[in-house]
Structure formats: structure tokens, C-alpha cells
């Protein structure tokens, strides 16, 4: 196995080599490659991988952490995207279908002033940001729950990778100790 403690190269070199072989990380449009590399650097410093297998495991860990962030961000974006529909649902009983559609379209148009006006109208009816967010979450509950399950899977993968690295380090240490212990006996026999 390629050992990073010998003359095979530093961890940074090996990471660059691994990236050359496997291609750049699978980032989505709008995600920052530099931020990904900075996160990887932090995890490398904390874990200090010593061989190629540990580097692969570390890569799982970095991807898991990145996915964790991506899922959180995605959940936030989905709730925000459901806000116009939530406003329509909230005001429909009082305003009727047509008016509710107009209010929701005014909010969705994106103009800050119109949004403020809509929120003021809602405030007059006793509805605030919290109620709107809650309704938006309710509308997307099924999707959000599924994303939570994906989240749990990503966290589990990351934990497993870290545990595996730990196990590998312990196992290697035990092997080295047993080889060291056997050395004097072998020398005495020869």
C-alpha cells in the first residue's frame, strides 16, 4: 500500500494526484471549488492520513461533509421557494382564489417593496414571517422529510469513514508493535 510517511510524497501531493486520477470533485453550479478544497485541507489536518486507503476514506468524509452542507442549503432554498405558494394558501380563505393569486404573484415578483407591502398586509391579518415559513414547510413536508433521510445517510457515511480510518490506524500500530516485539527474538535466533 502506498505509504505517505515514506518517500512516496506528502499528503498534499497525493491528494493532487488522486484528484488528477478521479477528476475534480462533483460540485454543482454555484458551489465554490476553493471552499471545497479549504474544507478538505481542514479535514486532512485533523485526520492526518498516512496511506492511500486512508486518503480514499478521507475523501468520503470530505464529500459527506460537503453533501451535508449542500442538503442544508437545498432545504433552505426549497422552503424559500415555497413561500409564494404558502402566502396564497394562507390568504385564500379570507381573500378568495383570485386575490390570493395576485398577492402571491406580487410576492413572487421579487421586488423588495412589493414583498414588504405583502408582509404588511399579512401582518394586519395577524400573520407573520413565522406563519408563512411554517406553511411553506408544511407544503414541502414530504420532500423535506426525504431530504432529512438523505442527510442522515450522508452523516452515517462520514462517521463510518472516520471510524474506519481510526480502526486502520489502530490496527497498523498493533502490527508495527508486534513486528518490533518479534525483532529481538529473531535477532537472537540468527
Amino acid at each position: 500500500m502506498m505509504d505517505l510517511n515514506k518517500d512516496d510524497g506528502t499528503t498534499a501531493d497525493m491528494l493532487a494526484k488522486l484528484e488528477n486520477m478521479c477528476g475534480e470533485p462533483s460540485l454543482l453550479p454555484g458551489e465554490d471549488l476553493q471552499a471545497y478544497r479549504a474544507l478538505r485541507k481542514q479535514i486532512v489536518e485533523a485526520v492526518q492520513p498516512t496511506n492511500a486507503i486512508e486518503l480514499l476514506l478521507l475523501q468520503d468524509c470530505v464529500d459527506g461533509a460537503w453533501e451535508d452542507w449542500r442538503l442544508r442549503r437545498g432545504k433552505g432554498a426549497m422552503i424559500l421557494a415555497a413561500v409564494p405558494a404558502a402566502i396564497r394558501e394562507l390568504v385564500r380563505p379570507a381573500y378568495g382564489e383570485k386575490m390570493a393569486g395576485d398577492v402571491s404573484s406580487a410576492y413572487a415578483s421579487g421586488s423588495e417593496e412589493e414583498r414588504k407591502e405583502v408582509m404588511e398586509d399579512l401582518g394586519a391579518a395577524g400573520l407573520g414571517q413565522a406563519e408563512v415559513r411554517a406553511k411553506a414547510m408544511e407544503l414541502r413536508l414530504q420532500v423535506l422529510m426525504s431530504i432529512d433521510r438523505l442527510h442522515a445517510c450522508a452523516a452515517q457515511r462520514r462517521t463510518l469513514a472516520l471510524r474506519e480510518i481510526d480502526r486502520q490506524k489502530q490496527s497498523r500500530q498493533a502490527t508495527e508493535e508486534s513486528v518490533e516485539a518479534a525483532r529481538p527474538a529473531r535477532a537472537a535466533r540468527s
Binding site: M1, M2, D3, D8, K17, L18, M21, C22, G23, S26, L27, L28, P29, A52, I53, L56, D60, D63, E67, R70, L71, G74, A77, M78, A81, A85, G96, E97, K98, G101, Q142, V143, S146, R149, L150, C153, R157, L160, E164, Q168, S171, T175, V179
Partner: protein, 193 residues
């Protein structure tokens, strides 16, 4: 008793028997991918990074037995990476409402635009003799809007199912890799001893 097939059904069957599949190489190439679902279980392509990754994992003085195990590790790792890539794209589709099933999105979109027209007084003014929106129409609009929302939910559910499947593929690939890693370590330990 089954009804006798009509003349049209008989003609269709006779025509179908004469069909011998795609003729052109482009058609053959296309139909050869008919059963392709995601390609994650396919053997790696010759120019894939598996060989380089195998050498990377095995290091310099690895026995032949260890090389085979290192190749298993590299293959499983490449599969896990591909699953990760596909998952990222599917998630992007889910969050940004990019269509996975275009037909569903198109139907939902056209329902929305028709509804907007029905509710828009200016658009109605152009329809000769159109009366203002009444309660029956509003109920209909409400039902159809809910139908469009259900279509979007179906679309999201489809992408979520795909995400869950990809998650399973990655988990399986990682389990294979973990097993191969244990094998490689055992080989190396026995070599050291």
C-alpha cells in the same frame, strides 16, 4: 370467448412481423441503450481511472494477489464516486425544479398558464362574450391548480426515489470497498510477518 381481431389489428401484427429492428448504425447504437437505466453497474470503460487508482492503492511492492484486491478497491471507489456525481445532479434538479420528466412539467406549466388566462380580466376582455369569473369557474380553477401541484409533487417524488436508489448504490459500493480493504490489509500483514 376472446373477440376475433379486427382487420386493422391483423394488419398491425403482419407489419410488426416484417420489422427486423434498426437498420442504420446510429439506430442500432440508440436501441442498444434501450435497457440502460443508470449505467452504474456497467464495467468501467478502458480509459477510466481504475487502473491508475489501482496502482495508487497498491503502491510499489504489492504481490499479484494484492493487485487484484487493489483493483476491486479502485473499482468500488469509482462506482461510489459516480453514484455521488449522479446524486449531486439529481439533487440540483430537485432544488431548482429542473425537469426530470419533461411531460409532467410541461403539463403543469400549461395548466398554470391557462389558469392565469382564465383569471386575468384583460385576457377575458378579448374573449367575445366572456362573463366575469363566477364561483363555479373559481372552483374549477382551484381544482385544476391543485392538479398541477400534484403533478409537481409527483415529479419531486420521482427525483427523490432516484436519490434514494443512488444512495443505496453508493452504500453497496462502499461496503464492497471496505471488504476489499480488509483483504488487502490481511495480505500486507501476512507479507510483513
Amino acid at each position: 370467448m376472446r373477440p376475433r381481431p379486427s382487420a386493422r389489428v391483423r394488419a398491425n401484427r403482419a407489419n410488426a412481423l416484417r420489422s427486423t429492428g434498426p437498420k442504420t448504425s446510429a439506430g442500432k447504437a440508440k436501441s442498444s441503450r434501450n435497457a440502460l437505466v443508470h449505467g452504474l453497474c456497467a464495467a468501467p470503460e478502458p480509459d477510466s481511472p481504475v487502473e491508475d487508482l489501482t496502482a495508487f492503492v497498491a503502491g510499489d511492492h504489492c504481490p499479484a494477489e494484492g493487485m487484484n484486491v487493489a483493483r476491486s478497491i479502485a473499482q468500488a471507489d469509482a462506482t461510489a464516486r459516480r453514484a455521488r456525481q449522479f446524486r449531486a445532479v439529481a439533487f440540483d434538479r430537485l432544488v431548482n425544479d429542473n425537469p426530470a420528466d419533461k411531460s409532467l412539467v410541461e403539463i403543469a406549466g400549461s395548466v398554470d398558464s391557462v389558469m392565469a388566462e382564465v383569471l386575468d380580466p384583460e385576457a377575458r376582455a378579448h374573449i367575445r362574450g366572456a362573463a366575469p369569473v363566477d364561483s363555479t369557474e373559481l372552483r374549477l380553477v382551484s381544482r385544476i391548480t391543485r392538479f398541477a401541484a400534484r403533478l409537481r409533487t409527483k415529479q419531486a417524488a420521482e427525483v427523490l426515489r432516484k436519490l434514494a436508489r443512488l444512495d443505496l448504490y453508493e452504500k453497496r459500493a462502499l461496503a464492497l470497498r471496505a471488504r476489499a480493504v480488509r483483504e488487502l490489509i490481511a495480505i500486507q500483514n501476512s507479507q510483513q510477518a
